[in-house]
Symmetry: C2
Subunit: 327 residues, 2 copies
Amino acid sequence: MVTIKDVASDAGVAVGTVSKVLNGHYVSAENKRKVEESVERLGYQMNYYARGLKTQYTYTVAVIVPDILTPFFACLVYYIEKELYRYGYRTFLCQSMHDAEKDVYYLQLARQNKVDGILGITFNTTELSKAGDIPVVMIDRHLENSICVTSDNFNGGELAAGQLIDRGSRNLLFIRSGSLLSSETLKRGDGFAAACRERKIPCQVLDSGDDAGGYNVEGIYGYLREHMSGGKLEFDGIYTSTDGLGLAVLDQLRRLGIQVPQEVQLIGHDGMRQMNRGAYLLSSIAQPIEAMARAAVENVIHLIRKEPVEELTILPVKFVEGGTTRE
Amino acid sequence: MVTIKDVASDAGVAVGTVSKVLNGHYVSAENKRKVEESVERLGYQMNYYARGLKTQYTYTVAVIVPDILTPFFACLVYYIEKELYRYGYRTFLCQSMHDAEKDVYYLQLARQNKVDGILGITFNTTELSKAGDIPVVMIDRHLENSICVTSDNFNGGELAAGQLIDRGSRNLLFIRSGSLLSSETLKRGDGFAAACRERKIPCQVLDSGDDAGGYNVEGIYGYLREHMSGGKLEFDGIYTSTDGLGLAVLDQLRRLGIQVPQEVQLIGHDGMRQMNRGAYLLSSIAQPIEAMARAAVENVIHLIRKEPVEELTILPVKFVEGGTTRE
DNA sequence: CTGAAAGCGCTTACAG
DNA sequence: CTGAAAGCGCTTACAG
């Protein structure tokens, strides 16, 4: 391995001088040339870790998500990595696998590895607060003493209700799943309920439980069947807390022989697309994933540079058509 | 930040002694206890980079893929990270964004950061060979002096042809897209053609060009329309080099009013599922992604430990039904 | 078994 | 402007 010392002796200068040209500090044109030539000739590559030992900056950010199999998370990490790259930061990928212990492990590791910041989605509040000195920006989780970037979940619920009602639905159902720790999906339901109340449209809620190990499809099937009479579903508009859940519901509606969107309109949440690029998988409330990633990265960079940042950033959502709503 | 020095003075021993208990070397029970207590009390976290400076191991592997938006790559990285974690290695995520320059940047960075190994999918052969001292395992790309893990693409093509023919198709079409640098999609076509020849079934090939910026849907539409007469398509079985392309083709078939699978059967390649977990998006040749990730990680670890590894690992594929084939 | 010391590859005051 | 030296947080021979 060629080090700064090799470059120095090859160029006939001191290591300090090499360091200076490497970091753009002023040296004589003559020495600058000699060093650059030696760097080129020897194919020198700076050891960033050695530098970090002295400067205390690693230019690395740990990105913690439950997994990147879930399209929403994959999409988020896609934009985060892209953005961190623009700032010259490296992405250290951590999948907690929905497992609190792995979450803790990665949080500790992030500190051990002296990453400059932590970004992502994690549920663990206690370990997170221990992060102490290291900047943390959470997405969709507003924990104590952490900066948060999220989208407008309450308004998402309102939008969903508004669209269903405007498009003719008169008896609504909200189905949620996932950890109750994530208050965000609850806000979606709150916004939905609030809009229904305002428009004086009846609205039921079904909690389909945790979805870490897949959706409770039988529970959903059973619930829907109980609410049918004469082959017709009592509800004519459904909003689900995520697109994944929405697709599971769509399957059950088909299984029950219910036409979507003719008999029942369905709106999901997240705005996921076919293969992450094509058509929307169903009508949905789309989150501004790219903008969220940008804001999160921007915030963590600000924190690293000890610049002021907003504690809470809420980005707007929008309704997108995906064939499960009428008109 | 609490360092090994703080622990040493707190425990009343030398730093070397602290280092020894940290690394599981033998010290007296008495000292071991004192050090462990101090570590606990001070909340000491080892600085892995400082250690790496001395040991020359960072326990970090760079994973380079075009992007993680594409479900196949997301899935691959999902399993790779999971597996590297098992071995105690960290994942440094690099998305080349299908850009040769970014590819080079990351390859250089991987060396600068002194990662222990490089894993992934990259097209750049020249820069890769410069990696020189650092272990490299490629997936789906068999480059000179690099270890490769892939799935049996030729057999995938054979399987696709066999399934189409067994299920009644008699006039076949293979549609490919993507970089010609990736010889793998070509092998799929080769296997397909070989099986057709053997079964004496006619087989056409359509090269739909590069797909980095989306599929050439108009080209596909035009080609299919040219091969129609009396509202019927001349082909009754289509195999595409990827599932993404398969879905694009499916759209065009629908647009032309052609029934799938009644009139035309369609088989893709990769075996992608709804939201990466649910039903297959179309009938397909499924790659053993988890096994590929395992093998790739295993190989890179072997290389790091300077243990012998197979230069080429080819894993078996299988046909999966996804509603675009009959029976 | 343990401590003092050298050294990993860098950066950064500090003299000159 | 430049060189020699100290030091970042560790590990590892080397004496004792």
